[in-house]
Amino acid sequence: MIKNNVYIDPEQDDPVIKEKSDAIEFVLKQMCIARDFDFANVSINRALLRDVLIRVDKRDDYFYIFHERTHINEYKRASITSFWINKLRPFWVSDKIDENLSKHINEHFCVFYLSTIMQKLSPEYIADVYFYKNFADELRYSLTNRDISQEALIVIMTPFYLSALSSIETSC
């Protein structure tokens, strides 16, 4: 990551990784609460989660260097994070405790994680329950069964970003 125009190896910056890792763990706990599942039964591979966070930071750095020193917007960050979580699969539940969740906990987390950003920045799409349920189902199915690249995931979430951006710019 870049701080004051100096590249810092994320491996050497553990407090940042820990803070981000804790935030993801908090969201995972909330997801378990929403599903009435005991968080104590979820295992987290912290080495993989660290890899996820470093890969997201590297992508952020890419935008900073090659795109006018901009940082990625919230939807892009959530999409890239979700892509790597779905690919590296750092969360685990025993099939003896919950067979369905043991297969899909990482996809479910990605849907929930992307939804947290929708809830904060484009809440009207969550409030439209018919729309949201169908969108979330399609997203979950695609993450499980289709080949979704991180660019594809970014494009899927871009309409929500543009909608929120449009609301902000028209209200100014």
Partner: protein, 59 residues
């Protein structure tokens, strides 16, 4: 092998048009830090839409 700084400058120069068009879509929407947003969003989803979330996350 080119230094990191040189490579960065060359690549930035050659991609100038591309970066300008893409940069307009990079503007963050909120002043709140990303991790705080996700935490707040997660809590709100749990309190306001627990039934909906449970249904989606149980499939």
């Amino acid at each position: 092998m080119e230094s990191y700084e040189t490579e960065k400058k060359v690549s930035t120069f050659s991609n100038e048009k591309l970066k300008k068009s893409d940069a307009t879509h990079n503007k963050p929407l909120s002043d709140i830090p990303f991790d705080i947003l996700t935490k707040q969003g997660a809590e709100e989803l749990c309190t306001k839409y627990k039934d909906v979330m449970k249904e989606i996350l149980s499939k």
